[in-house]
């Protein structure tokens, strides 16, 4: 990850999404990492049917891909599959051409970071100590922290905007502040690919915007390939270069936000009637009623 490499061609963050995709791709071919899942079949030992049954998805290098879908549609499962947290029954996930499941766990963790939905930590460690754990994959068994670790932690804390929390104990933080600390941890991991599972859920508006801004900074100022699961479609449309909509473990649509966020798709995937208005801040969704057709 090279947050300091500012992409000079990137001028517009929120509007003109098509251009962003192109610059993103042009950028991506140079440095950014590819994450490709092919014919992925994912299931849990307790469930009889696979949650994801043969889906392919490619995260756009250096750009932000958002996974959206209703509860239980398999977004988080797909994300865990991409992160090699679940062994696929069939199919493969390739990170820059290498199968993630056959990679050594530590070298995978140096290239791919995952922020899970529920994170627990002892209450009495400080934010800085927590963020230092993000350096785990970069350290040998007996190695002490290096200057590079310190620099990565510093950058991560700054980017996540939790410098003022550095010496606070994690147990004393609000939910939103905790989330920023955890985001700093995955940023300190210094990976080419970042997978975020509902990073804004349960946060107040201020902290939702904080998290969105972090992802926007990653999109515009770094080569990091981001895949993020989001509950809020408007947020997803605003943040992402590409969107993927899931329902019942199937990918129903993929493409630029304005192609995805349509009244038809909301009816089909989310089972709501809604008005969609295109604004300069991306599509605005006004839900009207839940559909009960089935």
């Amino acid at each position: 990850m090279s947050i300091e490499h500012v992409n000079a061609t990137e001028t517009d963050e929120l509007s003109g999404t098509n251009e962003t995709i192109e610059t993103g791709e042009a950028d991506g071919s140079a440095d950014a990492s590819d994450l490709d899942a092919e014919e992925l079949v994912l299931s849990y030992p307790t469930a009889p049917e696979p949650v994801i049954d043969g889906e392919s998805i490619a995260a756009e290098p250096g750009a932000v891909t958002a996974l959206v879908g209703p509860n239980g549609s398999g977004k988080s499962t797909l994300l865990k599959g991409l992160a090699s947290q679940i062994a696929p029954e069939d199919g493969s996930v390739l990170l820059d051409g290498r199968d993630v499941h056959s990679m050594d766990t530590k070298s995978l963790a140096r290239k791919l970071g995952l922020l899970s939905q529920e994170s627990t930590s002892p209450d009495s460690i400080t934010v800085e100590e927590l963020v230092y754990h993000g350096r785990y994959p970069h350290r040998g068994f007996f190695e002490r922290t290096t200057d590079e670790d310190a620099r990565a932690v510093e950058e991560a804390i700054e980017l996540a905007g939790c410098g003022h929390l550095r010496d606070r104990e994690v147990g004393s933080l609000s939910g939103g502040q905790k989330q920023l600390a955890w985001i700093a941890l995955v940023l300190a991991q210094d990976t080419d690919v970042l997978l975020l599972d509902e990073p804004t859920t349960f946060l107040d508006l201020h902290h939702q915007m904080e998290v969105m801004e972090i992802i926007e900074t990653l999109r515009s100022e770094s080569d990091v390939t981001v895949v993020v699961v989001l509950h809020d479609i408007e947020q997803a449309a605003r943040l992402a270069d590409r969107m993927v909509a899931l329902k019942d473990g199937e990918i129903r649509a993929r493409g630029a936000p304005e192609e995805i966020v349509t009244e038809e798709l909301l009816a089909d995937v989310f089972r709501v009637d809604a008005d969609v208005v295109q604004t300069e801040n991306g599509p605005r969704v006004a839900p009207i009623r839940a559909r009960h057709e089935d």
Partner: protein, 370 residues
């Protein structure tokens, strides 16, 4: 190394050393041959021993090894009567107490992180029930093997741990599965152990069995120090080396995995270190309860939950608690009733540990989480 000189940790270490020294002095002063604290102190610091590597080696590694290291073949110089009593009889017991406390402390600390449960003890994964069953089997059924009891007990504990792991394993394990498997194995083995008491036809055998299963330091000698010390050193080094992994385990399985930890390997290896430490203490003192539960708690309360500090803290607080408890076990009955008898130290640790835990429970709101 800044974490090592954390003021709280240093205070805890110094206070613990003070308790060990005070407890040790009481232990070496009182007994059938009483001497003043001053006399005892002089005997402990007797230069005839402290400055003679032959005596020190004789005590810590044994006579045979001493002779092959130093090449010395004659008779060792004679020691003063007090020195002989203190060094030969009373001091080894203090050393064994310290070693047992230290082992139980780190073992409990590791198991509490591995199972992510503050109420875990060194014996949560079946170690005590396996050891207890083997102790009873040896004493009641295979009387001829009594000489190997320490080894058999330690092995029984280790085997029970492996059985627990095998039961819990199903495409990997989880803290909850491990604890449940520990309960299953513990229940069955404890029943068998209690059943075996019925076949003991001799009150001496029963008393001996009770001593072993509640933990006792009566008649411990340098031989026990020599038996436990090498394993203790290994366990200490490995648990210090593993403290970063322990810290990561506290962040939860998912986080540890996504940071690239091979969680099953690490969990098994760390549990193995904890079982080694617990087995070393069982081999010399039997099954001392509560120490392994309470020591990591006290340490965490005093120095925070960073496991580097927790493990180092346990190295000091464990011996302090155990040495102090053994003072009560050895001399308590004499003070209370005037009788010249000792009680198993495990009874004292339980009597002290229970109320301390109650105090913790009343004071802390978030009991049960790490």
């Amino acid at each position: 190394m800044r974490w090592l000189f954390d003021p709280k940790l240093v205070t805890v270490a110094l206070a613990s050393v003070a308790v060990v020294v005070a407890g040790g002095l009481v232990q070496v002063s009182f007994g059938a041959y009483s001497m003043t604290v001053g006399e005892a102190w002089r005997a402990v610091l007797d230069p005839a021993v402290l400055l003679d590597p032959r005596w020190l080696l004789q005590f810590f590694v044994g006579e045979g090894l001493m002779r092959s290291i130093t090449g010395f073949q004659g008779e060792l110089p004679e020691l003063a009567r007090e020195t002989l009593i203190v060094w030969n009889i009373r001091l080894p017991r203090v050393f064994v107490a310290a070693i047992v406390g230290l082992n139980l402390g780190i073992s409990g600390a590791i198991f509490q992180a591995v199972t992510r449960n503050e109420l875990a003890s060194p014996f949560i994964l079946g170690v005590s029930s396996g050891a207890g069953l083997m102790i009873l089997l040896t004493l009641v059924v295979f009387g001829s093997l009594t000489a190997f009891l320490p080894l058999i007990a330690a092995l029984g504990g280790a085997v029970a741990f492996l059985v627990v792991y095998a039961i819990a394993w199903k495409n990997g394990t989880s803290p909850v599965r491990l604890v449940l498997a520990g309960v299953i194995v513990g229940t069955v083995f404890n029943s068998l152990q209690t059943g075996l008491f019925f076949f003991a036809d001799d009150i001496g055998v029963v008393q001996s069995a009770i001593q072993w299963t509640t933990g006792s330091l009566t008649s411990t000698d340098w031989e026990q120090v020599r038996m436990a010390l090498p394993w203790t050193i290994v366990a200490v080094v490995l648990s210090l080396a593993g403290s970063r992994q322990l810290n990561l385990l506290l962040l939860g399985e998912q986080t540890a995995k996504s940071l690239g930890m091979s969680i099953e390997k690490v969990r098994f290896a760390l549990s193995g270190v904890a079982v080694l430490a617990a087995a070393a203490s069982i081999a010399v003192a039997g099954i001392v309860s509560f120490v392994g539960l309470i020591v990591p708690h006290m340490v965490r309360n005093l120095v925070g939950s960073d496991y580097k500090r927790v493990i180092v803290g346990c190295l000091f607080v464990g011996p302090a608690l155990m040495v102090a408890a053994d003072v009560g076990a050895r001399l308590g009955m004499g003070v209370l009733t005037g009788a010249d008898s000792q009680i198993p130290v495990g009874i004292v640790t339980g009597l002290v540990g229970g109320p301390y835990f109650l105090y913790l429970m009343r004071r802390q709101q978030n009991m049960g989480e790490l």
